[in-house]
């Protein structure tokens, strides 16, 4: 993982939130009660909670970038404590920091706000493949990331909100009310428009835009805190001790395998495939987060997040792990060599091939995952999903 984006190391928590509530009012109290410098602790740890002590004691503070030798029995615990839990801890803490910053300064070009946005968005991209359990409750993942927005719902929703009457605008300050808004008005991609797209931002007076920036940032903090809380207060144990949501260790591994596939699919089909379009019809404005020039960055972040997960799932099969590592090395080197933050070069025939080649690298990776790793984990290459009718 690129160390330059792993900013703001966070101290290990001694305990997780006591009785963490998912209601926005409670979260607001905890988020605003403590300064950003305290990192995760602003998510309101006030005392040890027995059920979480184990998690807190073993979970890393950062997502792992390298994978030690693992035996099959250690896979799930390693992925939980070195990948999932630190990923969502980081997401919650960076999002809390984003909300904190937005409430101090909401000028769109304030470097502190833009940096806080970048850090929180990075944290989301590192976990956005983990689309099961806590992220799927209450539409949380969509509330954080409504992308791709193929029908232009986000700018529509933003224009409408920016031109709303005073009463509606006043309502943005109420997190519980804002959480009932359309997902198109919430999350990182809506915030990106407000920070980086003048045609949207300047629809309204700065005060109106400011209110909306604060509402979205606060909402992101509440949503990510709720996801984190659910992971720590129950869902992690569902993975550790199958029986309820999962029937066996094998099913848990299959869920994690699916998450790997989700990440690689997002990478290939969405982050690369959508802007590439057809050779005769490149679609540069379909690149993810091009307004903030984060398109290529997200591709690199995704590769960095997928590699440890893939290697951990390969576990004892060192030959397969080597094969995966080589395929990731290839894709990572290709992504590192690209010098096109927004992927605008999809329209330039002489340069487009570099992005096409990276897509091919990702396709090769997916092939190894589907044909080698899947069967090892007892996952048939989707009899229906790959070949339906």
């Amino acid at each position: 993982m690129n160390p330059t984006v792993m900013t703001q190391p966070v101290k290990t928590r001694s305990a997780a939130p006591k009785g963490t509530s998912t209601t926005p009012a409670r979260l607001r109290a905890s988020v605003w009660g403590v300064g950003v410098a305290m990192g995760l602790s602003l998510l309101a740890p006030t005392g040890p909670l027995q059920a979480e002590t184990k998690t807190a004691a073993t979970a890393a503070t950062q997502m792992a970038t390298t994978v030690p030798a693992l035996v099959t029995d250690q896979q799930v615990e390693w992925i939980l404590t070195q990948h999932i839990l630190p990923g969502f801890d980081q997401l919650a803490s960076q999002s809390a920091a984003l909300a904190q910053t937005a409430n101090q300064t909401c000028r769109h070009d304030d470097p502190a706000l833009q940096q806080a946005f970048a850090d929180a968005f990075d944290a989301w991209i590192r976990v956005n493949h983990l689309r099961f359990g806590p992220t799927e409750a209450e539409n949380r993942a969509f509330a954080l990331a409504f992308w791709p927005d193929t029908r232009g719902k986000i700018p529509d929703a933003l224009r409408q909100a920016l031109l709303a009457d005073a009463e509606t605008t006043a309502g943005f300050a109420d997190p519980a009310a804002f959480a009932t808004q359309s997902v198109a008005l919430r999350g990182f991609y809506a915030l990106e428009y407000l920070l980086y797209d003048a045609t949207i931002r300047d629809v309204a007076e700065p005060a109106q835009t400011c209110a909306l920036i604060r509402a979205i940032a606060t909402d992101i903090a509440a949503t990510t805190a709720a996801i984190r809380a659910d992971w720590h207060t129950g869902y992690a144990d569902q993975l550790r001790r199958p029986g309820d949501r999962y029937r066996s260790d094998s099913e848990v591994r299959q869920e994690l395998f699916k998450a790997l596939n989700t990440g690689l699919q997002l990478l290939g089909d969405m982050r690369l495939g959508r802007p590439l379009g057809g050779f005769d019809k490149p679609r540069p404005k379909r690149a993810e987060a091009w307004r903030s020039a984060r398109s290529l960055h997200h591709i690199r972040l995704t590769l960095a997040a997928m590699e440890p997960l893939a290697l951990a799932l390969a576990a004892e099969d060192t030959a397969l792990a080597d094969q995966l590592r080589a395929a990731f090395d290839k894709a990572r080197a290709r992504a590192a060599a690209l010098q096109d933050p927004t992927l605008a070069s999809v329209t330039i025939p002489a340069e487009r091939f570099r992005i096409e080649t990276l897509l091919q690298d990702v396709t090769d990776l997916r092939e190894i995952v589907a044909t080698e790793l899947g069967p090892r984990l007892g996952v048939n290459a989707g009899f229906n999903s790959l070949d339906g009718d």
């Binding site: 099961f132 193929t150 959508r274 989707g382 339906g388 009718d389």
Partner: protein, 374 residues
């Protein structure tokens, strides 16, 4: 087809009461036929599948999901349909297959094998006429690309007696209408030819539709969806007792489009698209695999093996009620208490009161559809 076949179709096809009602009537009158669905050993469901060593079969399952019989198939199967009175069913080849096996559902024993005429292949679905004297099969007349409905005499011999136009290209699922005599056909709109396997030959021009046909082959009503939805192939159907048709679509355009996958329709009215503005639409990944109504008809469910999800929606408000996550889920049927699903990982389970219940895992991969028999 000849006019004789047409008149035969007309003369022998009348709507009747439900199979259960029919049976109850016969039994009450003390005149049950020699072989009926009431016989012990008849399965509750049929499903095609693939064994671990790569062979194909049609299985009969009881209400708890246990396998009662396995009928080997020469290649991959798809759907099946049950005779309204005799304990008999037809298992169809998956497109572009050219076999349909008629089996005795008490034992799984093969009775006969149907082969489409030269120049035709099956699409994998079919249905009997209400009296069981005719079998209808969706077919591709692949030299012209025209969708056809094959007609088979089903009272004794399963003789081919002709075909009628399906009303479009790529007829896939097909049901008997409940509001009037006739058929409703999902013309998926995608042209294929066996020489090029399952390659889609006409995506730029595709135009799916839902066609309501008389048994003489006239199109009485047709639903076409406009605009972006032209690339949404109408594939699978569910029939509610009041004649409302549920249809599930498969998106052929760019991935990531947020277009509805399920709709409800009644002839003569516009379609009601389900969850059209709900972001969870994209959890289906543009692909509806099977569709079914709840026992009371208030809910409609769709499976997406690509998304590994079943979505259940409220029919009246067209809003999404809940999601169930199951890897490679595709087969779906109405159950007494809700829905039953099957997966490519061999699982069969009930969806009841918002939860996945009573799962049983079999050592095979269940194919796209689960066909309820009783």
């Amino acid at each position: 087809m000849g006019t004789d076949a047409v008149s035969e179709a007309r003369s022998k096809s009348r709507p009747t009461a439900s199979r259960r009602g029919f049976l109850a009537g016969l039994l009450a009158a003390g005149m049950a036929p020699q072989a009926s669905w009431a016989d012990i050993g008849s399965p509750a469901y049929l499903a095609a599948g693939r064994t671990m060593d790569g062979r194909f079969l049609l299985a009969g399952l009881d209400h708890t999901g246990r396998i009662l019989f396995r009928h080997p198939l020469p290649a991959r199967g798809h759907a099946a349909t049950a005779h309204p009175t005799r304990p008999e069913a037809v298992a169809f080849a998956r497109r572009p297959g050219q076999f349909a096996d008629v089996i005795d559902c008490r034992s799984g024993q093969a009775l006969t094998r149907l082969t489409p005429p030269p120049g035709h292949h099956f699409y994998g679905h079919g249905t009997y006429s209400p009296d069981g004297n005719l079998l209808f099969t969706t077919e591709n007349a692949f030299e012209t690309g025209e969708g056809r409905i094959g007609l088979w005499e089903a009272s004794t011999t399963y003789r081919r007696i002709g075909s009628i136009a399906s009303g479009g290209i790529g007829p896939h699922d097909m049901r008997l209408r409940q509001d009037a005599p006739g058929l409703v056909v999902a013309n998926g709109g995608i042209q294929t030819h066996p020489d090029s396997g399952r390659a889609k030959l006409n995506l730029p021009a595709m135009q799916p539709n839902l066609s309501y046909l008389t048994l003489e082959g006239e199109v009485e009503h047709q639903l076409q969806l406009d605009g972006d939805l032209r690339l949404n192939s109408i594939r699978h159907l569910a029939m509610r007792a009041d004649g409302t048709v549920g249809f599930a679509m498969q998106w052929q355009g760019d991935p990531g489009a947020d277009l509805p996958i399920v709709g409800l329709h009644r002839p003569g009215s516009t379609a009601l698209l389900i969850a059209a503005e709900d972001p969870r639409l994209r959890n289906l990944q543009g692909y509806g695999g099977s569709i079914a109504f709840s026992p009371d008809g208030h809910e409609v469910a769709v499976t997406s093996p690509r998304g590994g999800v079943v979505q259940v929606a409220d029919c009246a408000s067209a809003t999404l009620l809940r999601e169930h996550w199951l890897t490679d889920v595709c087969g779906l049927a109405t159950d007494r208490s809700g829905f039953v699903v099957t997966t490519g990982q061999g699982r069969i389970a009930r969806l009841s009161a918002g939860a996945v219940k009573d799962p049983i895992d079999h050592d095979l991969a269940w194919d796209n559809h689960l066909i309820p028999l009783l």
